[in-house]
């Protein structure tokens, strides 16, 4: 599993490549833990280069999502390859975690979430 992360406007974007299963899901858990320790609660995980994910991988992403939400943020997913998207559909985890077609759409979601807060502060 390979990670590449970058930050855009308080949002952490994490690109994950490879297979995510019981043998290496702890690496993803560790990576998300690192992001959380940097007080980043707005996280986008780009799964475009993930070939397979088992329930261990799903559990780690759900754990990351719960932690972000606990601190007022969220963990969004984007660019899911068809087989990975199907896993989210079959398990109905697509009802729990927000999935977007592109990083741009996911970033826009965080921006719209912030908008009411900013206008609220201005008024």
């Amino acid at each position: 599993m390979i990670f590449h992360s970058r930050s855009i406007d308080n949002v952490t974007l994490l690109n994950v490549s490879g297979r995510i299963d019981v043998t290496n899901s702890s690496d993803l858990k560790h990576k998300l833990g690192q992001i959380a320790s940097q007080q980043s609660t707005q996280v986008i995980v780009n799964l475009s280069h993930v070939s397979f994910m088992d329930s261990s991988g799903l559990a780690v992403l759900i754990q990351g999502m719960k932690r972000c939400r606990e601190y007022g943020g969220d963990l969004l997913l984007c660019n899911l390859p068809k087989p990975v998207h199907m896993i989210f559909e079959l398990t109905r985890l697509d009802k729990a975690v927000q999935i977007f077609d592109s990083e741009h759409d996911a970033i826009a979601q965080f921006q719209t979430q912030r908008q009411p807060l900013i206008s609220g502060l201005n008024s």
């Binding site: 019981v22 088992d54 329930s55 799903l58 754990q63 079959l90 398990t91």
Partner: protein, 355 residues
């Protein structure tokens, strides 16, 4: 006898190198000296025949007195080599003894761990129902093949009233011991829900389990995909609710097998789950297959997954057979497909046939 410091100021010569060495040995003993070293200039000032002996003394300065040997004497050299070899052999023997001891301890630990796992496996086997209770209008078979000693898959059957069978099948995320521990909790909570809920419909049971287990599943980073069915034999009606579980296949007699997709997220994902109850009639010839993802995710030597397509085809192909024959056929197909020894996820399959 001279203190070693006195050897060189003024220079003091010995008749033979052996005499010099003997003096060293005596000096070490008398003055309780543990280390002797010689500066290169001092060393070079010695007669050539004494130099090899002192070279050895230098290189073995941390050894005991007995290690001071005369190297220019072939007989003593041989004795020294034998002594060194003996010493090394003793060290190796000591290491071997220590390694054997560690290996024995590791084996004992492993046996203890294996026994604990075997006990856990027995416990799970005893907790899982041996088979399905007999209910009129239904032929039921279930089989589970764990990937490891303990399984994260669970199933249960309860008779609710004389003509109603409640069954559950679930899969804890992850594998191994952690999943094995959580599955006993999940099954127990679902069983409890049947007793405490005023109207224990499948959706109410799932929502009860979700509320009860959300905290524990959050702290243990797990979730459970779960299918709950309730078959009323008099009306042949099956009510079910599906929290993220797959594969679930329904085949109406004389129609093609189709997937019954989940309606809500698995147990333990959202603080409040909105489960949905659905109903179908399970008439004679109709088949319901509930499996765990260890079946569809099984891989062959080329890394290809067994998949939902093959499972649907198998259900279609064996439609005229009994529940146990369908279970046999699917596990046989899996065994033929899956690479030897490659099973890395629990495989559980429940088949319910209307009769």
């Amino acid at each position: 006898m001279f203190h070693p410091n006195a050897f060189f100021s003024p220079p003091r010569w010995f008749e033979t190198p052996r005499a010099l060495i003997q003096n060293c040995i005596d000096a070490l003993h008398s003055w309780q000296i543990t280390h002797i070293s010689f500066q290169p200039a001092q060393y070079n000032a010695l007669p050539p025949e004494a130099q090899p002996a002192l070279l050895h003394a230098q290189s073995t300065q941390k050894r005991t007195r007995a290690d001071l040997t005369l190297l220019d004497d072939p007989a003593v050299q041989l004795e020294s080599d034998v002594s060194t070899l003996k010493h090394e052999l003793q060290l190796m023997q000591a290491e071997l003894t220590q390694s054997k001891k560690l290996l024995f301890q590791a084996n004992a630990e492993r046996q203890k761990f294996s026994s604990a796992l075997a006990l856990a496996r027995d416990l799970q086997d005893n907790l899982q129902p041996a088979g399905a209770p007999k209910v009129s209008g239904l032929d039921v078979c279930v089989r589970s093949k764990p990937a490891h000693e303990v399984t994260g898959d669970f199933y249960d059957f309860r008779l609710h009233g004389p003509n109603e069978l409640v069954f559950t099948l679930g899969d804890i995320s992850g594998k191994g011991m952690a999943a094995g521990l959580l599955m006993t909790m999940a099954r127990k909570v679902l069983r409890t829900s049947l007793n405490v809920l005023a109207r224990p419909t499948p959706d109410a049971m799932l929502d009860y389990a979700n509320r009860d287990l959300y905290e524990e599943f959050t702290s243990t980073n797990a979730f459970a995909t779960t299918f709950v069915g309730q078959f009323a034999s008099e009306r042949r009606m099956l009510q079910y609710a599906n929290a993220g579980h797959s594969p679930v296949i329904f085949r109406r007699n004389a129609e093609r097998a189709q997937l019954l997709l989940a309606d809500s997220a698995p147990i333990g994902v959202l603080p409040e789950n909105q489960s949905v109850v659905r109903q179908i009639y399970l008439l004679p010839g109709d088949t319901l297959v509930v499996g765990s993802d260890g079946i569809t995710d099984a891989r062959n030597e080329d890394g290809e997954m067994f998949g939902l397509g093959r499972l649907l085809q198998l259900v279609d192909a064996h439609v005229n057979q009994s529940a146990s024959e369908i279970v046999d056929a699917i596990f046989q197909a899996l065994a033929a497909f899956e690479a030897e020894g490659a099973q890395d996820d629990d495989q559980t399959l429940m088949v319910l046939k209307g009769v």
